[in-house]
Subunit: 556 residues, 2 copies
């Protein structure tokens, strides 16, 4: 079912919020039939003259797609790759490109076009690239899906919020979730409805239970019709929702949409019963796979021998692959694969949703920055599809190496014990528990068990973060301070010692209400620190924890 | 009064909308005391590694500040400046700059910083430039004003809307106004309250009358507390609000704010009584001054002999110059002075407003595009303040020349008669009335008066547009079709003949309700067409009008 293409006349306009409905129609509507006629003179727009754009050309030096290796050796991570790559003897290999203000070839990128006002859709060259990429990589299951550029997933989510959420609506989210998404929805009066997780991510059975048992008057809001999820390298837990679970979740959403049997019928009166899936997927290409301990680590994967098709087939599928009803709204970004400063990404969704979001863009951000579009498009034109895939494969290897190195450091500074989670949001996963090392040099393996367990974590299968669960049962203030307060006390001690980590409470679907749970959490990023600094950071963590476990000062 | 600096403890937080109040506080709040400590290791953020940004450097060739002349001769406009400037014998003069991914000098712009996630405030180098520019050019009248970058005025206005307008609020606008601003407010349920204009722009007496006589139950909304205005080269009318009128309007807004006598008092209960001024000012540097007919045109101005201070002093002042209470929220953009594709501009306002808008940016657009910031900042660093002012002076001369040339073309194709407007939104201004030329070659001056008047306009003093009032009283269908329908019939005839102009109705504060007024309008842009194409466009306009005035077909 999931890979078949279905009918292309899906109308989901009943999902739109009052705000989205109130948006104007396209200002170009009356112009459409004239635009593009040869020789047409337009004095309608408010366009400054391209002759006065002060940049006569812009240029870039872009790294070649195979700048980073697909194979890493165990030793490589103990040296700084950074130093190796950029030392003088090892100069990076780049190819140049230049974009001029004007060109005789209408196919060329020019500054005259890309720095001018333009359609909120962005540059055609970029759209072609995005469309091809989405088709080949995500393989949406229906025909008339479309793409639309946005200025980064955060802005994309804000536009989704104003397009689909009415004031006071509930939004389905995982119990741990990305706080910035919540922060862009709550000013609208939206309330988060937390769905339980297990080791495979959001639980489909809990989702069904919530939707089945929804009592509007008890909950004080209609049944939610928007589900927000970061399914790959979930932020903050690092879990990846694989094929089977995604299929289950998609099917639950279908179950609560009445137009199931007749997707082409406009089901106005079922508005509060449908669940659309907002798939925020920045870490898709950082799917690192399972962690293997240092001693038994194999050559990281056979990624260098995989063909592109095979490589893609082994990635967790997007919800788009199951989406035969057009209820998925996917957000992709160039932030993790090119650079966050590009402020560029795209939606993939049905054309009804895309049209309303495009109107929202016209009256806010307009087209993404022209400079950003020029440089991202030029880079991708240089690389071509194959080159970009090569680049993405290498990124995965690089981030995997960083994850592995960080966990190796934890293994050096603490005693790590492998176990299995039996319940909670990690249920079914391999968990590593961290025990403080004895200061004695004569400690043997046996005595580890007498040490105090201070944290545990599931190695993330994608993304940039270790989601560390704190175990502070042995702390002298345990019971006296709740878990949020103890978490904050430890966070402050680390900060005072020069190490900043992400406080866990802010990633809760209901921040401030986690003090009741027995564990605090930290989100720790391994993405952007040199290897020797990571090592140092883990040393600080260990030293501070040793002291902290004896520290009975109650914070002011 | 207006140039004195006043106390800096103004708190206007009672202006904020419920949406703005519901926004989160800064996620960095707890981190503030640690950030910047030497040697601090942060593993808190979700930053991709700068080593994986694929651009190793970007470069630009920027025009020198004096690329365009400050003096123009009458002949110059009859040739295409474009051809002259870019012909091979006359190559443009540029200076190069390069921004590398990394640099040893922490003061340098780098891609590592500007393409990374960063504060919504944008790059420090850009902020310094903006702050200096605002101080020197706009001279705000109080001390603790601040600036905040945004991603273009359209997005700026959208953020202002969500920050200051509650659903159902009224917003004060001119009777003709910029439709995109309305389009970003109306999805919120905001209703436009139209203030009458005269030849000097929005009328202060009508503004006072509206506010004094406000009847909440009759109007169905509380008294508006936001005034939206494009005061220079008003879009679409082209009028510029000069010093005296601005002072009057500011004073009316003060009159309706109860904290007048004690600006430092937090006046929570006066919320609906205060009027803040949203000054959307994209055309500020396109202040062309009055139009002089071709025969009597002087050398365009003595702009080349003016010092920078004097040049600035002769521009219409910003509302900021009168703003001793912090009630002005000004929007500047680089769209008209650098390029629209930069998607970059800034707010100037009090810090309370800026803080809430910054939080809105954090959960939507984040920082403006890093590539855009790099190129705009590099350009301005190359030019320095003086160079930028030189560039702006020349832009004004260039757009003035375009305006003059377009009106000259109208003068060639039609008989233009100079008169004075007695009432309406043009009251007090010099008006040119356009009469169809007789096809006879033996027409004499006298017979002009027997020709039919078909349009009239006030030459714009700034901006990019001629706002043409249509006079279709002599049209055979006049009376049978209303003005909006006749306007559309003519618009369609022009489009069919290959000329697109801006339909006037869309610029109404209440679009669709202008059919009742006796005149249709067109907004015609002279900013972005080569001179010979402008000439051709006016010829088409004339030919079509000749036919149109005899065309009795009633549109379907």
């Amino acid at each position: 079912m999931s890979s078949e293409k279905h009918g292309d006349a899906i109308d989901l306009s009943h999902h739109l919020s009052a705000i989205a409905r109130a948006r104007a129609t396209s200002p170009l509507k009356g112009l459409q039939r004239y635009l593009g006629r040869p020789g047409l003179i337009s004095l309608a727009g408010g366009l400054p003259n391209e002759g006065y754009f002060p940049l006569s050309s812009v240029s870039g030096e872009v790294l070649v797609p195979d700048s980073f290796p697909l194979e890493t050796s165990e030793e490589s991570s103990s040296l700084s790759w950074f130093w190796k790559l950029f030392s003088k003897s090892n100069k990076e290999k780049t190819v140049p490109f230049t974009v001029n203000r004007f060109s005789d070839d209408p196919e060329d990128l020019t500054l005259a076009t890309s720095l001018q006002y333009g359609m909120a859709k962005g540059l055609p060259q970029l759209n072609n690239i995005i469309k091809e990429f989405t088709e080949k990589v995500y393989k949406p299951a229906y025909n008339n899906w479309t793409t639309l550029v946005h200025t980064g997933n955060t802005d994309g989510i804000a536009k989704v919020a104003w397009t689909f959420i009415n004031p006071g609506d509930g939004v389905l989210v995982s119990e741990w979730t990305y706080p910035s998404a919540i922060a862009s929805m709550t000013p609208l009066g939206a309330k988060m409805v937390s769905v339980k997780m297990d080791g495979q991510g959001m639980r489909s059975d809990d989702l069904r239970a919530i939707l089945s048992n929804w009592n509007e008057s008890e909950r004080g809001m209609p049944r939610p019709h928007v589900l927000y999820t970061v399914p790959v390298g979930q932020n903050p837990t690092g879990v990846t929702v694989e094929r089977q679970r995604k299929k289950e979740i998609y099917d639950v959403c279908v179950e609560f949409g009445e137009w199931l049997s007749q997707p082409w019928v406009l089901a106005i009166n079922t508005r509060d019963k449908d669940v659309i899936i907002v798939e925020d997927d920045p870490y898709y290409f950082l799917q690192a796979g399972p962690y293997e301990p240092k001693g038994v680590r194999h050559n990281h994967s056979n990624i260098s021998t995989l063909g592109d098709e095979e490589y893609i087939a082994r990635l967790a599928p997007s919800y788009l692959q199951f989406d035969y009803q057009g209820r998925v709204l996917r957000l992709d970004t160039f932030s993790k694969t090119i650079a966050p400063g590009s402020r560029l990404g795209w939606f993939t969704c049905n054309p009804v949703f895309a049209e309303r979001i495009e109107r929202a863009a016209e009256t806010s951000t307009q087209a993404p920055c022209g400079f950003g579009q020029v440089f991202v498009t030029s880079t991708l034109l240089k690389w071509k599809y194959q080159g970009y895939i090569r680049w993405l494969k290498a990124l995965r290897v690089q981030y995997r190496e960083r994850r592995d190195y960080f966990i190796d450091c934890l293994d050096e500074e603490f005693h790590l014990q492998k176990t299995h989670a039996q319940d909670g949001f990690r249920e079914g996963n391999v968990v590593y528990e961290g025990f403080l090392k004895s200061k004695s040099n004569f400690v043997n393996e046996k005595s580890v068990m007498n040490q105090r367990r201070v944290f545990s974590f599931v190695p993330p299968t994608a993304g940039m973060f270790i989601w560390l669960q704190l175990h502070l049962e042995d702390h002298p203030l345990y019971g006296q301070l709740d878990s949020t307060a103890l978490e904050l006390k430890l966070w402050t001690a680390l900060a005072e010692a020069g190490l900043i980590v992400g406080p866990g409470d802010m990633f809760s679907a209901h921040p401030g209400q986690n003090g009741a749970s027995p564990h605090g959490h930290f989100r720790i990023s391994f993405s952007n620190t040199e290897f020797d600094v990571m090592k140092k950071a883990v040393k600080i963590f260990s030293t501070v924890l040793q002291q902290f476990m004896k520290d009975t000062t109650i914070p002011a």
